[in-house]
């Protein structure tokens, strides 16, 4: 356990002021919750609040202490021993990422810590390998954010960039709002390309397969991956699904479930799709591509032969993305038109 906080320090005085309030909150939270270990909580709280309050203005200290306390309490209440990895990841993010932005933290501690905590928990479930680079990105670029809103936008775009594909719509909507000093660096561009950031952001929004840091190369079709799978192995399907275009979405469904397929340069994913009675498949989604059953596909003026495309069951396209289900697999194939500038 770390050394006690000096009672005559600003942090010590803040803790003294808030003592009854925080003790009361802990006591209420601990009712009937044996897993809430006061000693372990106190150890975490003591070290975290000390680290995060370094350099914090005395006037903002009470708010910071309250924010740290409440979010740490949530962490201890919600994540038990079985979630030790996620718990450590959240604590790590608070220590490293939050302490790297002291001004933002002091202005809205509960919001910032909460947002970071939720983001880490979500990434831990969806894309665990992205957690560490996500925190590194925030440590590296967070201090360039003028406001909490920008900081959260940075987090959204970084998480998408690191493979949380379901964030694509949200991230694309925030690209243009990212400062020139942040946006290009997120996509592997150097600072000299900052001036053209708004143009790059527009291209990223328009082309899901664009890699702004790589040369475009000639246009070509490629099977970029597969998503879905058998329901018994954690996938959504019992049989090869029907694929349809619905608005600007690609939807795959069998008799039991429907999922939306989201695919771009940074990853592939499925999301639960709630079909309603106004569900209206668009026939243009299918007619945009031709598959001959022998592994050949013609799409967007290009062609591709791939044995994985033998015996297609259903397909549909939106823009430069084609999704195909085949007879011998419950994973649907994603084909993209790459390159071409």
């Amino acid at each position: 356990m770390s050394a006690p906080v000096a009672t005559d320090s600003p942090l010590g005085r803040s803790l003294a002021r808030l003592r009854a309030e925080l003790n009361g909150q802990f006591a209420v939270a601990a009712r009937g919750r044996r897993e809430l270990d006061p000693e372990r909580f106190l150890a975490d709280f003591s070290s975290l609040v000390r680290e995060l309050s370094e350099g914090c203005d005395a006037a903002a200290l009470d708010q910071l202490v309250r924010g740290v306390f409440r979010q740490l309490l949530t962490l201890h209440l919600k994540l038990g021993p079985a979630d030790a990895l996620a718990r450590d990841a959240v604590l790590g993010a608070w220590r490293f990422a939050a302490s790297a932005v002291p001004a933002l933290l002091a202005s809205a501690p509960q919001e910032l810590l909460g947002a970071l905590g939720n983001a880490i928990l979500r990434l831990s479930r969806v894309k665990p390998e992205a957690v560490r680079p996500f925190v590194s990105t925030l440590v590296e670029l967070g201090s360039r954010c003028p406001s909490l809103e920008t900081y959260l936008d940075l987090g959204t775009v970084a998480a998408w960039r690191l493979g949380h594909t379901l964030l694509r719509d949200a991230a694309v909507a925030r690209l243009a709002a990212l400062p020139d000093a942040i946006g290009p660096l997120l996509f592997g561009l150097d600072a000299s390309q900052a001036a053209a950031w708004s143009e790059v952001a527009a291209r990223l929004a328009a082309d899901p397969w664009l890699d702004p840091a790589a040369p475009a190369g000639p246009p070509r079709l490629a099977v970029v991956g597969a998503v879905g799978g058998f329901v018994g192995f954690g996938g959504p399907f019992l049989k090869p699904p029907t694929i349809v275009k619905h608005g600007d979405m690609l939807v795959a469904f069998d008799e039991e479930r429907a999922v939306r397929i989201v695919a771009d340069r940074f990853g592939l994913a499925t999301a639960a799709f709630a079909a309603t009675r106004d569900f209206a498949p668009d026939a243009a989604g299918k007619s945009a591509a031709r598959l001959d059953g022998r592994g050949n596909v013609a799409f967007q003026g290009l062609s591709l032969a791939d044995p994985r495309l033998l015996e297609p069951v259903s397909w549909a396209a939106v823009g430069s993305t084609l999704v195909v289900s085949v007879k011998h697999s419950l994973r649907v194939l994603v084909i993209a038109r790459l390159g071409g500038g």
Binding site: N23, A108, G114, R122, A274
Partner: protein
């Protein structure tokens, strides 16, 4: 295209939502993040399924209660429900569900117990504790709530919690409580003139007043208001009624606020008689129920853990002024459907009518009797023809004021809002009316209705009496089939279209129709309250059409 039929959004999702809710109501010292109203789960889930892209949703919440991003905040109605759940789970030990709702698709559990075969109902839908819910609705609607009950039952504690939920620190709320006591002066209540100004000022308006802090707060608490001396009560009345304070010709405009008054005994047990006008300003009366001794462990827990609920109210249930304003605007926007409004109209129409009070129809009211100084009972026997057991109006000595009706409307809207309903329902009205009319509707002790053995209990319990009164009114409404058979309503709607360009022949037809309806009543020996209001409405319409006809004839059009 083949037949495209993805599985539609189904009940499974709803079930998961309800399960999550049950999980969330466990005894956490935190605000439940699960939805607070399972009935609305369908819509919520649908929205959630479509929004797959939020990185910042999760267990950690912002200080304002929403997801932990600055953009997303819990809507005020959700916050209000979270506040209710937090209070009943953690702050006020009130394991009562006296505001009962039932699921139409699922019958409640009913039984009868004891020698008296008292009815016991376990409701089948989300029901509520009036002692917690009504103060909250008072906060939401900026009304005035009287908490009554014996000492130590949590009346003041409940009021303090409302102050904390309004955003004031617990210490400040406690300091701002006006504690009624026999020596309380107007200066104690409102403030003092600056001593230096009293000496040096040449004019009264130059005397500055040090106004008391509580006057500027959005939650005002008057403890034991029936111990305040009568003269000071008058000063309090000005603040309650007109929202300003006055000392030495100086006035202080108070902001809109929710009021909480407490009394150990509202039936005259205070040191001073409460002036009638002050009583009339109270919008809703809530009883502090007894402590259920089965929950003594909660008290042990509080002592052992030094828990003081008002000092650990989570920020998620604290309302900013903007949220409070938004909530109020949203409550006012909740519609009262015409069918529900008619039920209230019908109920209220029974109460004012008193046939033998006058020879002119407009003055056939209980108010006429009251103004005459005569006792209602001295005239009651002259009322003939009516079945006094069945006459709802016979059970009261007064009718409903406009203020009582307005207050009822505020609270039913708030109730529907709290329950996340699109519009006010009949049960909302049924549940709210007893609390609003508790001190407004005075029982007629001589009514034969109360002499029946099964009805004697209504002399004691006003909440059940008023609810029963409303049920009787609704039964009569249904018997008369007023939802379908309401010629007066139809005529009023016709008139509401306006008289512009209505031809003379149509006006004569409508006049004849009005007279025909009244003629039909000639055959009936009994005249009831609802007919009295209809009669006045018919007279009003007759007059409008008569005047319009005169104008048509005079203008030659």
């Amino acid at each position: 295209l083949p037949s495209f039929s993805p599985p539609l959004y189904d009940a499974e999702n709803r079930l998961q939502k309800v399960e999550r809710m049950a999980e969330g109501t466990s005894r956490l010292g935190k605000v439940s993040q699960s939805p607070t109203n399972p009935q609305a789960a369908t819509t919520d889930k649908k929205k959630a399924a479509l929004d797959v892209a939020s990185l910042y949703e999760g267990p950690f919440t912002s200080a304002s209660g929403g997801d932990a991003s600055s953009a997303a905040k819990a809507p005020p109605s959700e916050k209000l429900r979270q506040a209710y759940l937090w209070i009943v789970n953690n702050a006020i030990i009130s394991p009562f569900y006296d505001i009962e709702y039932n699921n139409p698709a699922k019958a409640p559990f009913r039984t009868r117990l004891g020698d008296s075969k008292s009815s016991v109902v376990f409701p089948s839908a989300h029901s509520y504790s009036s002692f917690v819910l009504l103060p909250l609705l008072t906060f939401a609607t900026r009304r005035k709530c009287l908490l009554v009950g014996g000492p130590g039952r949590g009346k003041t504690a409940s009021a303090i919690l409302m102050g904390v939920i309004a955003g004031y620190p617990a210490k400040e709320v406690k300091r701002a409580i006006q504690k009624g006591q026999p020596q309380m002066t107007i200066a104690d209540l409102l403030g003092n003139p600056m001593p230096s100004d009293l000496v040096s000022a040449q004019r009264m308006e130059d005397v500055r007043i040090g106004w008391r802090r509580w006057l500027s707060m959005r939650v005002k608490i008057i403890d034991e208001y029936n111990r305040i001396p009568t003269r000071t009560q008058s000063a309090l009345l000005t603040v309650m009624a007109d929202n300003y304070a006055e000392i030495l010709d100086q006035t202080f405009e108070c902001p809109e606020s929710a009021w909480y008054l407490t009394a150990n005994d509202d039936a005259g047990g205070g040191t001073y008689q409460v002036i009638e006008a002050l009583k009339d300003r109270i919008d809703v009366v809530v009883k502090a129920l007894h402590f259920n001794n089965r929950f003594l462990d909660e008290l042990v827990d509080r002592i052992e853990n030094r828990i003081s609920p008002e000092s650990c109210v989570p920020p998620e249930i604290v309302f900013s002024e903007a949220e409070w304003d938004r909530m109020y605007a949203e409550i006012l926007a909740v519609p009262v459907p015409p069918a529900i409004r008619r039920r209230l109209e019908f109920f209220a129409s029974h109460l004012e009518f008193f046939e033998t009070a006058s020879t002119q129809v407009e003055y056939k009211t209980k108010d006429s009797v009251k103004l005459s100084g005569l006792e209602l009972r001295s005239l009651s026997s002259k009322e003939s023809g009516k079945d006094r057991m069945k006459d709802v109006g016979n059970q009261t000595v007064n009718g409903l004021s406009v203020r009582a009706l307005l207050t009822s409307l505020y609270f039913v809207k708030a109730m529907a809002y709290f329950r996340q309903q699109d519009e006010v329902g009949l049960e909302d009205l049924r549940q709210i009316l007893p609390f609003v009319l508790h001190d407004k509707l005075v029982q007629n002790p001589d009514a034969p209705y109360f002499e029946a053995a099964a009805h004697e209990v209504y002399r004691v319990d006003k909440i059940c009496w008023i609810r029963n009164l409303f049920d009787l009114s609704c039964a009569e409404y249904d018997r008369l089939d007023r939802d379908r058979e309401d010629p007066v309503k139809r005529l009023l709607e016709e008139l509401e279209q306006g008289l512009d360009a209505v031809p003379e022949v149509a006006v004569r037809k409508r006049l004849a129709e009005i007279e025909r309806i009244v003629k039909e009543w000639e055959g009936q020996r009994k005249l009831y309250g609802h007919m009295f209001d209809d009669l006045l409405a018919l007279k009003y319409m007759h007059q409008r059409y008569t005047n319009y006809l005169s104008w048509l004839e005079a203008s030659g059009t």
